[in-house]
Amino acid sequence: MTGTTLYDKIWEAHLVDVQEDGNCLLYVDRHLVHEVTSPQAFEGLRTAGRAPRAPHKTLAVADHNIPTSDRAGGVAAIADDDSRIQIQTLEANCQEVGIEYLQMDDIRQGIVHVAGPEQGFTLPGLTIVCGDSHTSTHGAFGALAHGIGTSEVEHVLATQTLIQSKAKNFRINVVGDAPDYVTAKDIALAIIGEIGTAGGTGCVLEYAGPAIEALSVEGRMTLCNMSIEAGARAGLVAPDEKTFAYLKGRAMAPQGADWDKAVAYWQTLKSDDDAVFDKEITIDAANLPPLVTWGTSPQDVVSITGQVPDPSEISDEGRRRATQRALDYMGLEAGTPMQQVQIDRVFIGSCTNSRIEDLRAAAKVAKGHKVADSVSAMIVPGSGLVKQQAEEEGLDKVFIEAGFDWREPGCSMCLAMNADKLAPGERCASTSNRNFEGRQGRDGRTHLVSPAMAAAAAIRGHFVDIREFEGEAS
């Protein structure tokens, strides 16, 4: 008999029921809820007269709509009526059914995928869902975590289960030593560039190999976060000592004897040596440059030393047209070196890159420099706790002195549902995960990069090769 994969193991351990047609009922250990994708689910429950089955397995926080400017007036002072109502609705819904809700003024408030792990709500071997596609982030801990729709949010609230069919196993081996300034973000972009935005469709990705083991837990979150951008249902990294060290002592993590028991179990969570994967690829991190996207799909990646592609060189018609459309939208000429592309805005934040290590990386670049006059740059920490930590380390001062805007935690300009957005035509170096048309504001132009690359671009006013930037710094 051949061995099983990490995904197989977690799947098996959560099966409640298996139908003859292969559809399964999977138990859900943890459910994260935010304000945008949940109101209709709570409403559905109410209409049907159903109560949540296990409200204590759910954690709620508002993040998408929340202002990242001064919050002194509280929720009641949020100017946009719809945003305020959505946040108040979440609060009221949670209170009604007994779900723990992290208030806007709670230091633990933040982007749902930053706050969950921070609290130890995310643990290895669990199934974790949220009405949000970047739930894949939590796979960094060896948890099976994925986004669901609002009907499924309602289903999970009512039954603590999900109807699922099994996905395929796809292992991504990342070997070699990543050079300096080639971060988890660059590895994620490289993988999506390689397999495409539909490359992982129907699969759970397991990231493995020495370059993954070498990543910090935060780096693994960045990587797993973008699994959805490769079309995958989820991403996984097998838990190891780094994972346990990250979780130990967190508020919602097990304590004492339970902790020891949990670790003993978590240590069994890895793919067997003889496990068979449906697909497998290998990427050599040693050969990767820092990457930047040029187009309107996360697969549109190019080396920072590269140039804007030429549609006329693409033979596939669908792809050629998509490329031309992307260049038109992005306002870019074929053949332009990426380092000559001027930017107007910088956004450092989002559940991809807003944790303390991201801010440290950006601050290291920003220290002693000034944001270019033509650029407006904002830093949005992933949570109140990240913000507090950064302030203890003095990073806020580095940023403020350099001319960055230091803000309150939330999703902010990652999706521009609040006031933080690009004006039409503005070009942004962003550490977020999606460069779709209109994502950061109608007719806004987004280039995805790592935090250090974003900070360097803020200072120079155009993209720069971060490997050379360091040499220039005083």
Binding site: D29, Q40, G149, G438
Partner: protein, 200 residues
């Protein structure tokens, strides 16, 4: 949920790959706490100028396609955000069926929960239906879910695959939650077994 059995309607060609849910329903329309009324903002930034004027080239603004009930599209339809507002907006506009070479996972799921049938076909079949759809109001395509068959305007037939359980739910308009609640005893006994993993 509304049942889906057969549908005979105008098919609109949306000849693009990677149509993402941000395009289908931009985020400024996600602030609602309702499911209804999103159809007017379906494909908003492709359909309307910032001043709210119709963009004539966009397919759903062309007279022949204003009452389309079927979309024929390129690879990886529905990628990106998990927002169920995307199928809600499509449904509210009147789209009940989408045909594409592939769909993103979460969107695909969300369709079935809302009485929309997403059909995956090989590229060459999609190409043919795309050609048919481009014939304007004559592009009536018939979808027969019980027999898993599509009939083109010229009478040619294409068969398609669909998961048996999902098909049943669509045909009968079944509510997933109701079905799962019938399995409550299994969930109870599963939860009883969790005691030796107190952290769960």
């Amino acid at each position: 949920m509304e049942k889906f059995e057969t549908l005979s309607g105008i098919a609109a060609p949306l000849d693009m790959i990677n149509v993402d849910t941000d395009m289908i329903i931009p985020k400024q329309f996600l602030k609602t706490i309702k499911r209804s009324g999103l159809g007017q903002n379906l494909f908003d930034e492709m359909r309307f100028t910032p001043e709210g004027e119709e963009i004539a080239e966009f397919v759903l603004n062309q007279d022949a396609y204003r009452s389309a009930e079927i979309l024929v599209a390129g690879d990886n339809f529905g990628c990106g955000s998990s927002r169920e507002h995307a199928p809600w907006a499509l449904l509210d506009f009147g789209i009940r069926c989408i045909i594409a070479p592939s769909f993103a996972d979460i969107f695909y799921n969300n369709c079935f929960k809302n009485g929309i049938l997403p059909i995956v076909l090989p590229q060459e079949d999609v190409d043919r239906l795309m050609d048919d759809a481009k014939r304007g109001a004559n592009a009536v395509i018939a979808i027969d879910l019980p027999n898993q068959k599509i009939t083109g305007p010229d009478g040619s037939e294409i068969s398609f695959e669909v998961d048996a359980f999902r098909k049943q739910c669509l045909l009968e308009g079944l509510d997933d939650i109701g079905l799962t609640l019938k399995k409550a005893p299994s969930i109870d006994s599963y939860e009883a077994g969790l005691q030796d993993q107190p952290w769960r």
